[in-house]
């Protein structure tokens, strides 16, 4: 079962309401996405911690329902 970009964005937004999110469907198969997520919640956190916040927002779908999500995270300028 694949996920739509809209579903991914909604899950991230629910956990990180201020997030600016850009999602690209890399292969057009609903299974390989790249996402850029900018949020104040990331400030002062390591990259690993930032990605863990996004993974937590996606509730364990990454690596399961969602095969591949290339992530880039950061704090808004």
């Amino acid at each position: 079962m694949a996920m739509t970009a809209g579903e991914i964005e909604a899950l991230i937004k629910a956990a990180l309401p201020d997030a600016r999110i850009e999602i690209r469907d890399l292969a057009g198969d609903g299974d390989h996405y790249s996402a850029t997520v900018l949020s104040e919640a990331f400030r002062g956190k390591s990259r690993v911690q930032q990605h863990q916040l996004v993974y937590a927002a996606l509730r364990d779908q990454v690596g399961g329902q969602l095969h591949a999500l290339a992530l880039q995270t950061g704090v808004p300028e």
Binding site: R47, V48, H51, Q52, D60, V62, G63, A70, Q72
Partner: protein
């Protein structure tokens, strides 16, 4: 030994450990292959552990790191990240700094 204890001992007794799909010689996934290429380019010695050979390890490392995907890179017992973070750190030069500061030999690019 529990899988948790096995992983703990691997990451603490080897300076650089890569949990990956396939082997450094034959990566079985593009993301694992990218990290292999970076480590090989830097010439840093590392141990590759193939999670495809062991389902318990495949799930165990995800629980150990609280990280849902493979590959996963450890340096000196610390989780550095997956493919995206390793690539970002390599491109910015942070990975080279981390390895050097950990006392590990890193090839410096020609002319640098």
């Amino acid at each position: 030994m529990s899988i948790d204890a096995f992983i703990d001992s691997e990451v603490k007794s080897n300076d650089v450990v890569l949990f990956m799909k396939g082997t450094p010689q034959f990566p079985m996934c593009g993301f694992s292959g990218q990290v292999v290429q970076i480590l090989d380019y830097l010439g840093v010695p590392y141990k590759g552990l193939n999670v495809l050979e062991n389902d318990e390890l495949r799930q165990g490392i995800k629980d150990y790191s609280n990280w849902p995907t493979i590959p996963q890179l450890y340096v000196k017992g610390e989780f550095v990240g997956g493919c995206d973070i390793v690539r970002e750190m390599f491109q910015s030069g942070e990975l080279q700094v981390l390895l050097t500061e950990s006392g590990l030999p890193v090839n410096t690019p020609a002319g640098a």
